[in-house]
Amino acid sequence: MKSTRRSFLKGVGAGVFCLTLGQLGFDLGEAKAYAGSLKIEGAKEVISVCPFCSVCCQVIAYVRDGKLVSTEGDPDFPVNEGALCAKGAALYSMYTNDHRLKKPMYRAPNSDKWVEKDWDWTLKQIARRVKDARDKDMILKNGKGQTVNRLESIFWMGTSHASNEECAVIHQALRGLGVVHMDHQARV
């Protein structure tokens, strides 16, 4: 349709207020086609927590047919108010990344290969090695003859997401073994 300024004004004068942009000659289809469908449309919103640091930003995980389709910050959570840093913003990639570990991996001493192992074997190995290391390296007294009961050859890597109660249990277990080196993943 051809529209001059004059005919446009006439149209308005005649009470045609709802003249759409389409009638003026803009092709609205193109922009609409570009938008396509929203990838989270109809997906279920599941609240989750970013696993990276102790700020514990809350995220909304969008799930469709049992599959994660997108993640973003939860605007209703007072700590992050919908915001996320670069690590939190990349949560979806952490889920889809082919580097993600899903089973225990084992690299033997001096080997350059990782081998997949089951949990049973892995947990037994950990228990065995903790016991052996402790039996071998436990320091009962220091140079001055004072009792220290210290084990310096084991390091505990925890998580910033452990709750107060979990921290207490972990701490007691490790102190019980004499372990003095402990930290969590947000600082490495």
Partner: protein
């Protein structure tokens, strides 16, 4: 009135949440990059990064390092020169949405000859569009047009944890920009709103554009 972004660089800490969120929303893969001595990574916009945070540092008159961050993206110009240029060869390759002001590179950009695509890239005063050699399409920020059409904020704005980015009606954003500039001027007397009359992505810069990026303002 179109939609407008306000990007207050004085609040940016270069966490790059926006950069990553953009990649995630648009399902863009990682780039293989090398350590070049800068935290700016990848070094430039590319078909997999429609938004990057640029880093630049200089010494002030007292010999103190000033480190500036510039979250670079398409400005969604009120009168986009890229669209004007593209229209001369393939109508509909670059379009501008009337309601939001979003400037969009459609799949028709693949019909542009390599030369014509280059002309479109060169028409941009801000050095934004990039040619995807695989799909032959021009790529750039699309204002998260799907999200904005559904009444949501662009993902970069939603993600920003420092309050650097805001998005809304142009009039509101202009008011916010003026208010913020007034405050920032007290600390940074050279602060200004880059090309705010011409663009829908308004940057508040604390000093000359050269201390951010050659194309930070036209």
């Amino acid at each position: 009135m179109p939609k407008t972004f306000l990007i207050d660089t004085t609040r940016c800490t270069a966490c790059r949440g926006c950069q990553l969120a953009c990649k995630e929303w648009h399902d863009l893969p990682a780039n293989e990059t090398k350590q070049t001595g800068s935290h700016q990574n990848p070094p430039d916009l590319n078909p997999n990064n429609l938004k990057i945070v640029r880093f630049r540092e200089h010494l002030d008159k007292d010999g103190v390092v000033v480190w500036n961050f510039f979250p670079d993206q398409c400005r969604h110009c009120l009168e986009p020169p890229c669209k004007g240029q593209a229209d001369t060869s393939v109508e509909g390759a670059m379009i501008q949405d009337e309601k939001t002001g979003a400037v969009l590179a459609t799949e028709k950009t693949a019909q542009l000859s390599e030369e014509d695509a280059q002309s479109v890239i060169e028409a941009c005063p801000y050095n934004i569009p990039r040619l995807d050699k695989k799909t032959k399409r021009l790529t750039k920020c699309d204002m998260c047009f799907d999200r904005v059409s559904a009444g949501m904020q662009p993902i970069c704005v939603k993600t920003c944890p420092t309050g650097t980015m805001a998005f809304g009606e142009r009039e509101d954003m202009l008011n916010m920009a003026r208010n913020r500039l007034e405050t920032v001027l007290k600390e940074f007397p050279k602060a200004f709103l880059a090309d705010y009359k011409d663009v829908n992505v308004i940057y508040l810069l604390a000093e000359e554009k050269e201390h951010y990026y050659e194309y930070a303002a036209s």
